[in-house]
Symmetry: C2
Subunit: 382 residues, 2 copies
């Protein structure tokens, strides 16, 4: 195993190659970096190992990415009934489609339930990163995507726990589902309610005492705060990155007089660790596992994954009176499954709900939805 | 084991407590953070475990710290004959004193040689960080400290390999020592010679192509470059942080038109990870291990550690025509053993050269020299 310094410098070197590729094919940086990740990973060259260290840094990257994106979002912009509506349709349609697809291919009840759940996932990281690169985070469609994706994370968590319970043969414990729903809702609402006080605390600290003496103090405090929210989210069962996003949104718009600039700092952290995160998405999958006999299922799964989100979220958006093109952007923007479905697939595999073939299909479906989205969003006129 | 998010948020929270303490006792941030590290570590409360993840992040912190400091140093400023002279005296005197001290307390040849070597170490990270906080990195004394500390790292490496060879009972292989010396010298000189070309490459890239399209590109490239130098330094046997420092010095003064600012970015990275590094120095030691029977040896070792550097480097500085106060600053500035002597002690313990008592004494000596230095430097008039 090479030293951690060498691993990091290699991964960053390949991320640079990803930028070069993106520039050459005129796509988002995300696409090029993931593709280079696939090339250097087990699918092709097997040069870089997915070590624990890289895994951890990639995880930090996802957290810093969502924190930086949160910093560009007003709390009020995120919580709107129409986003809940978009998220809900974007969960139900893929779930049903996934279930029937599993049934069609002869999988049993628990596998089919699980295929459905894997299709419900939405990775905020990918779309948000592309929108940030395109400087479109402040458009109505972008706000809808991010808002709906956060709610999607909560709903997806509920769906996952239902699928796992029913796979165990347990009766679906309504009490447990309600507990998870309640905990998530309390966390999100508490986050919103606490926001003005936390913001005020930061601004007050900036004017006096230790923060005035040490310009680093409030920057460390904000990153501490980000990881604290991420931990709480994870303890509840939500993605850590949803917590990170929320903490960013809480601190949105803060300008310090004496302290280091928060947004700028988060930006630099996310540049480095975000690159590690994106490249690791490519390293995580092994295209060689896509054997001929799972190909038909995989292809249909992939179409279902994209179509159900595009149609589901798209129609919901139209009903919420977004324009046709905005609705398309929202639909495609909700499509990338990214690391979320990969993690769900891993849970399914390790708890013996799904077999290796299903696992591979879901992971590759995640990857490809993740690569397609930035390409589509960048080329749509909106 | 708590999640990595919770570990990071806890460590950062305690780092903030360190800032508060520093502000209260009117000392450098480094002092307060290390003291809080001692309090939360095994010495007292045992709240935070020194997990592999924290260890890695602390290591990244040391690298980012030295990279950021390197960025404020012109290559020409580092390599001067007088710094070699200061480093040399600052190695020879502690080594001899350590050897005789061991001999005096009845330790054998190999232990005594090793005690000597542990006293030769200098941790650049501590002093440089304090000087940066005091905005004195550009003073002649600061330049002398940093320049001599880099050379000290090379000489210390040679001393360590001599001590290990003689402990094995091998004849000291002059050829091997010369190889290490040659490799280190080649690395440092190649670094200097390559500097203008590397700098030119960065500036050229900034004006066109992929770097112009993606403002993140050159920032990632510079961090990649930092870790690459750090790896090479480590492969040769030098500290990774010496490589990081050198890479920073190579890129000193670069201003981009289109890309993210390198110095600013390195600063933000070092703020977060540096805090983790400093707090981990405190967590690493266990004051409880300081039993009554090693106390006399420990106290004398500590005095020897400080006096030999202050007198050795101080006199050498006077001879190199620094003022009296500057010479004192240089002497104390070369005193902190920081993580360097801790690592040497660990090598000695794991290769059965020294016993547990000696190990504990050396680690605590490192810690205390590390805390005393910032206090003295801050309170001297210079």
């Amino acid at each position: 195993m090479p030293t951690i310094e060498l691993q990091i410098s290699l991964v960053l070197l390949f991320a640079l190659a990803g930028y070069l590729l993106s520039s050459r094919i005129n796509q988002s940086a995300v696409v090029g970096i993931i593709v280079v990740g696939i090339i250097i990973g087990p699918s092709l060259l097997s040069i870089v190992e997915y070590s624990d260290a890289i895994k951890m840094l990639a995880h930090l990257g996802a957290i810093m990415l969502l924190f930086a994106i949160g910093l560009e979002f007003k709390i009020k912009d995120i919580y709107q009934i129409k986003y809940i509506f978009i998220a809900l349709i974007g969960i139900i349609l893929p779930w049903i489609a996934g279930y029937f697809l599993g049934d069609l291919f002869g999988y049993g009840f628990k596998e089919s339930m699980f295929i459905g759940v894997s299709l419900t996932a939405t990775s905020i990281a990918i779309t948000a990163s592309v929108l940030k690169e395109m400087k479109k985070l402040n458009t109505p469609a972008a706000k809808a995507i991010i808002g709906a994706a956060v709610i999607d994370d909560v709903l997806g968590l509920l769906a996952l726990s239902i699928a796992i319970q029913s796979a165990k043969g347990d009766n679906i414990a309504i009490a447990e589902i309600l507990t998870i729903a309640a905990k998530s809702t309390v966390f999100l609402i508490a986050g919103i309610l606490a926001a003005p006080y936390i913001k005020k605390l930061f601004i007050k600290l900036d004017e006096k005492g230790v923060a005035k003496e040490f310009p680093d103090f409030l920057f460390i405090m904000s990153i501490m705060f980000c990881f604290l929210y991420a931990s709480v989210a994870e303890i509840i069962g939500l993605s850590a990155i949803v917590g990170a996003f929320l903490s960013g949104a809480v601190l949105e718009g803060i300008k310090f007089k004496n302290s280091k600039d928060l947004k700028e700092g988060a930006e630099y952290l996310h540049i480095i660790f975000g690159a590690i995160f994106f490249i690791s998405l490519g390293i995580l999958v092994n295209l060689k596992e896509l054997t001929f006999n799972i190909l038909p299922f995989f292809v249909i799964l992939l179409f279902a994954a994209i179509l159900t989100k595009v149609i589901g979220c798209g129609i919901a958006s139209r009903l919420a009176s977004y324009s046709k093109n905005e609705s398309l952007v929202i639909g495609f923007g909700m499509s990338p499954r990214g690391e979320v479905a990969m993690i769900i697939a891993l849970i399914g595999l390790t708890s013996n709900i799904i077999n290796q073939d299903l696992y591979v299909s879901i992971v590759l479906m995640s990857l490809i939805t993740t690569i397609i989205t930035p390409i589509v969003i960048r080329n749509l006129k909106w």
